[in-house]
Symmetry: C2
Subunit: 433 residues, 2 copies
């Protein structure tokens, strides 16, 4: 036996298992649940506005009327009724799709897993916004794909940076298979890809032979009346679209979906069967009944108003409590603000001190595959009340003041890791990848 | 662009995607649902005895009392209450386990997927009974693992054959990582590993540095009062145990679990998070309430009596309707009889003619990774009523008679594929692997 691990089971691990790493979000679950901490860390939707009694009655009727179907095995692709309803939901963002091309998954996280499984050999490159959703980075790493970040600004992914990144990857002899993007109310950056850029991104990827993986959990949670067309609506043949009911309804049933070009859909169904046989019938039928029998669009409106109020509270509190030189994004929907501190701060190193002050956030490095994001953080405004958000930002201000004191005393760099940080919520230049 | 596929998306597929194949069970779903066909094909439990009205009331209370938790995100490992209850369920088969070492999955199919993901690099060998569960073979193939079948007889896996297979794999320069086994009421073979052999199998694998992957969905569905100790109870450090509520309760919530040695459990939680974030809270809490508030052991007794009656009906009908030279297993529990026809038959080629006669089964080749099983089939007695089972076997007898007529006219081999079949429900010799 080799000495690489004392545990005989770990010695039998696959190479890919080395890429499985604990996400920062996981470690935060314990913190989130302590009532004295204002958690600006998790992306948990606020569920108090759900009509629980009516849902209880509906679930009872589902089991009483259709229990033998709801509790049985089903098909790997998901039930046709729900796939039809999903097409109606997607139509709100300009997508014209056939239910045959939809596959139901365990949240859209599982769709991410299956698409990566189908597309990526070890060493293949996935282009992704800088920063990117931590859960996607974890999945890409588990399949040994290499993430190359592409610069974003307040209008989302920068098309010229995308072209440069594609060229750099090609020059390095690697193959970029996918562009992973969250175009609406980005997690964690809070920015939205402008309409003009959507067409450019679609064209650049199509020309380069790169499939767009469009992840859109927040699209219907915009705070203004602008509806952004999905990238999928611009190029159905080269875009794989991921959707979810976790934010527009609730995450506890874990129902998401993927809409894919036909040949990919076939593979997705096989991969779904291989992974789980079929998504739970009960959960699918319950979501289907929710869409059929409840005013789900009005529920989404309630969520939008709720989150808009919290976003306002957070932005106002940031103005009051952040030190000079701090910048942040101003999201027009979704759950997140992305904050960049002045030079010298290290948000990961600072987190334990923040938790001691009873406020939590996610350090920026969680959202990069390459160590960037040292002086950035994600702040979620979805779960705490406006009052708690204001109090949380006030506490964060106190923590930053103490940090600043320390920086003044010991000098920049004394409390942080090797200097990888950039001047703002931007990415490494393509030549640095 | 290369010419290996006309579809640009497929040209971007990972190498592993070539290993994703449609399972025979999938193609049978359409057949199963046609009421005029007696399906002896699917492994769907018979759910009519479930207390649907009480379950409806319970699910209503769950949402009304605890809806904001049941509909929220949760931890990747699953909720502690359910993991404790799962330990109590496993104690019935002699397992002493801590809830910390249990991970909740989407059915035990997902546990199969995650364990394979953690253990197997492309080309690694998984030893498996001959025949083996079709869904496991599909998962192993999706991870490009190579399956080497090991001979089984009426007492399950043959220890001497296991030793020979291990030696043969070693000699071929490959690495066997796992032994995949269904020790109780095997799917599809219907046989049970004898108590003596359990200890031998555990010892052989431990000495060879091979982890045992014990898949036990049917263990509590025995028709006699014998309780077999789980292999896990004999060697906790080298056995990964998979369990499921799909057969002892119902499959529609897709709740299964994996019990693993500590270091493996850590990796399983990471893999679970990467694949699905967390198993659905609603489903976990519903199963937990079912175990707490319902007489689940009495429900299992009801299932056992129901399936025993159907097994009896099938065995008696086989005596009456099968041609001379046909052999079959006599399961003491579970869902399946494994049938071997005399030389000349080809059960895959025969299936369309059987469906025309309004009876369905799964051809034996589905349960081998290597083309064996040509004159074998799996017959399920779980879903149809005893009367329907008798009628199905009668129809099967008619089909076989017509086949025999054809064989007599055109000669052995005229209707079947190249001769890979063996003299009984046995495996290829280890040197044939």
């Amino acid at each position: 036996m080799s000495g690489r691990s004392l545990d005989p089971q770990l010695q039998r691990n696959a190479v890919r298992t080395g890429g499985m790493r604990a996400s920062a979000i996981r470690a935060l679950f314990a913190v989130v649940n302590r009532p004295e901490v204002v958690s600006l860390a998790g992306g948990m939707p606020f569920l108090d506005s759900l009509p629980l009694e009516q849902l209880a009655a509906e679930t009872g009727r589902l089991l009483a009327d259709d229990g033998r179907v709801a509790l049985q095995y089903g098909a790997g692709q998901g039930i046709p009724e729900l796939r039809e309803q999903i097409c109606q939901v997607m139509a709100l963002e300009g997508i014209s799709a056939h239910p045959d091309d939809v596959v139901v998954t365990i949240g859209s996280q599982m769709a991410l897993d299956l698409v990566t499984r189908i597309y990526c050999d070890p060493g293949d490159v996935i282009l992704a916004e800088a920063p990117s959703y931590v859960g996607a980075l974890g999945t890409f790493s588990a399949y040994q794909a290499q993430v190359v970040h592409v610069e974003t600004d307040d209008d989302g992914l920068v098309p010229a940076a995308l072209e440069a990144a594609i060229a750099a990857v090609r020059e390095s002899g690697r193959r970029a298979k996918l562009l992973y993007t969250v175009p609406n109310f980005h997690n964690p950056a809070g920015v939205t890809l402008s309409v003009d850029r959507r067409a450019q991104v679609a064209r650049i990827c199509a020309e380069a032979g790169i499939t767009v993986l469009e992840d859109n959990p927040y699209g219907l949670l915009g705070f203004s009346d602008t509806v952004y067309p999905a990238i999928r609506s611009l190029d159905p043949d080269n875009v794989i679209y991921l959707g979810s009911f976790s934010k527009t309804f609730a995450p506890g049933l874990r129902v998401g979906w993927v809409l894919a070009p036909h040949a990919v859909k076939e593979k997705l169904v096989l991969a779904n069967e291989s992974a789980i046989l079929n998504p739970p019938m009960f959960n699918q039928m319950m979501i289907s009944r929710y869409l059929a029998n409840f005013d789900w669009q009005s529920q989404i409106k309630t969520y939008r108003e709720l989150y808009a109020e919290r976003r306002d509270a957070m932005l106002a509190a940031l103005e009051t409590h952040m030190p000079a030189g701090t910048t942040w994004t101003r999201p027009d929907g979704g759950f997140y603000v992305w904050l960049t501190l002045p030079e010298g701060y290290d948000t990961a190193a600072m987190l334990p001190r923040a938790v001691t002050e009873r406020v939590a956030y996610v350090p920026g490095t969680a959202f990069y595959a390459d160590g960037f994001g040292t002086r950035q953080m994600r702040l979620s405004f979805c779960y705490p009340t406006p009052e708690r958000i204001v109090e949380g930002i006030r506490r964060l201000g106190t923590v930053l003041e103490a940090e600043q004191e320390m920086l003044r005393t010991f000098g920049v760099g004394s409390v942080s890791r090797p200097d990888l940080r950039l001047g703002g919520p931007t990415a490494p230049a393509p030549d640095a990848v």
